[in-house]
């Protein structure tokens, strides 16, 4: 059973045991516009909560994606290298960015559930 949580910076996390899959929300992609490039963290890198972990570039601009929680990067979505537009077509599905081993479960407490995120973007 996975739970999906959200940050105020428009990242989503699907929590499955001690692993979180991280991406940007559909709202975020709609604000960015056409995504043309995604830079992902290296597997094995240890991220600290709120540090810049990935970059998503539209035709217009580059935007940082922040680590929503601390932990080690276990896997990245290589499909985004060849098809960055997946971020526009399936932001909260096939266009996940990276998987992270949750270092401190207490950090999840500060994140939003879907209802709270909907209110945040309303």
């Amino acid at each position: 059973m996975t739970t999906t949580l959200y940050t105020s910076d428009h990242e989503w996390l699907a929590i499955d045991g001690d692993v979180a899959t991280v991406g940007i929300t559909d709202y975020a992609q709609s604000q960015l516009g056409d995504v043309v490039f995604v830079e992902l963290p290296k597997v094995g890198r240890t991220l600290k909560k709120t540090e810049a972990a990935a970059v998503v570039e539209s035709v217009k601009a580059a935007s940082d994606v922040y680590a929503p929680i601390s932990g080690e990067v276990l896997e990245v979505n290589d499909a985004l290298g060849g098809e960055p537009a997946l971020v526009n077509s399936d932001a909260q599905g096939k266009a996940w960015f990276f998987k992270i081993k949750i270092a401190d479960k207490s950090e999840l407490g500060g994140l939003m559930d879907e209802a709270a995120y909907k209110a945040h973007t309303a």
Binding site: G33, F37, G81
Partner: protein, 382 residues
């Protein structure tokens, strides 16, 4: 973020209501509330302009008439030549030419279009510079000319391979115009000023229209299924692929026309040995650059990877060591090339096509190659 007061002080163009009704995402630009994109998005808007036609609101730009007190347009042309390094006298009635206002240091105050309308000159200048340009013209040309800012007109650009057939339905004379022809034409019964030019690298037209008729004309053009409204986002990616300078970024008061690789825009008559050599601000420095070369030069840059290299990125000769040799002044993703494109300044010794350089992006040095511009072949109807 803008405060409420800032937003309230933004100016609007006569097409503002139309942009909002079309779903335009409005942003502040040069003091105006302008559409950066419409629901189609930058990528589709860009590609549509290259394959069919796009309509751009460029009403924020300045439109200025320079009227000779003598009644002879040659006198206005000679007067304007005191401020620009171009041959304005040679611009025939019904023709237009690209020019720059230069300063005493040889830098560029603004770039502009100058058209000869038979009995006066018609100038189109950048939005962010228009107040300074008008003051500059008044300060320097008022003995010979009347400077008349046309604030009650909109400016609409129609660009792309279908621009001609779309405009032909409203203006029978449009197809006969050639690249850089310019003058008064009637479009859909409205008295307009039309030039066959633009800022995309595509064939197309720029249409100056009375403010009160602008929305009707824009809607009539948009009634064609070939025409989509295009925002500032795609306007920027289109001009970048076309290798065209954006004032304040690729050219400014610290760049001479020679450093900016705009030699083609300075006619022989104004260069050393020409019939009217010099006589414009900064002539000494600019003509020295022509005669002896400049130490740096604006070039096109292509990357090997897919990561865009953007404005401000420092350029290096080496993959790891050394001081920066130059800087990117415009950069982004070129939708028609499906690849990043950039332009920037490099030492002239490293400006040859094919020269390998590196751009620093997020702490990494990405390989780049000096490449020919335009990046996308232009389709002007000459």
């Amino acid at each position: 973020m803008l405060s409420r007061d800032d937003q309230d002080s933004l100016k609007t163009t006569p097409l503002h209501g139309l942009h909002v009704s079309l779903g335009g995402k409005m942003v502040p630009f040069a003091g105006y509330d302008m559409p950066v994109q419409y629901p189609a998005g930058v990528l589709k808007e860009h590609l549509h302009t290259r394959s069919q036609a796009g309509l751009f609101d460029v009403s924020h730009m300045g439109q200025i008439r320079v009227l000779p007190k003598s009644g002879k347009v040659e006198d206005a042309a000679r007067a304007l030549e005191r401020l620009v390094p171009q041959d304005i006298v040679a611009v025939a009635p019904g023709r237009q030419r690209y020019a720059q206002f230069t300063n005493a240091d040889g830098g560029i105050l603004d770039d502009l279009m100058v058209a000869n309308f038979g009995d006066h000159l018609f100038l189109v200048v950048n939005a962010a510079c228009k107040a300074e340009d008008e003051a500059h013209l008044r300060a320097n040309l008022s003995d010979d000319c009347i400077i008349d800012s046309l604030t009650e007109r909109a400016l609409i650009a129609l660009q792309g391979p279908k621009a001609e057939s779309v405009l032909a339905k409203l203006c029978a004379e449009a197809p006969a115009m050639k690249f850089m022809d310019a003058g008064p034409r009637e479009i859909a019964g409205i008295d307009c000023f039309v030039s066959r030019s633009g800022y995309t690298g595509e064939d197309g037209f720029e249409i100056s229209v009375p403010a009160g008729d602008a929305e009707r004309l824009a809607k009539t053009l948009l009634d064609n299924t070939d025409v989509l409204p295009i925002g500032l986002g795609a306007r920027d990616s289109l001009r970048l692929e076309a290798g065209l300078c954006l004032y304040g970024h690729d050219i400014d008061t610290a760049t001479t026309p020679v450093e900016a690789a705009l030699e083609w825009s300075v006619q022989k008559s104004r260069r050393t040995g020409g019939a009217r050599a010099g006589g414009f601000p900064g002539a000494e420095k600019i003509l020295t650059h022509f005669d002896q070369g400049a130490s740096r030069r604006r070039v096109g840059l292509r990357t090997e990877g897919r990561a865009p290299v953007r404005e401000g990125a420092l350029l290096f000769a080496d993959s790891a060591a050394g001081e920066p040799v130059g800087k990117v002044t415009s950069g982004g993703f070129g939708p028609s090339l499906n690849a990043p494109v950039a332009m920037g300044y490099v030492p002239t010794s490293q400006s040859a096509l094919g020269t390998k350089l590196f751009a620093e992006v997020r702490g990494q040095r990405l390989p780049l190659t000096v490449a020919a511009m335009p990046f996308v072949k232009n389709t002007y109807k000459r």
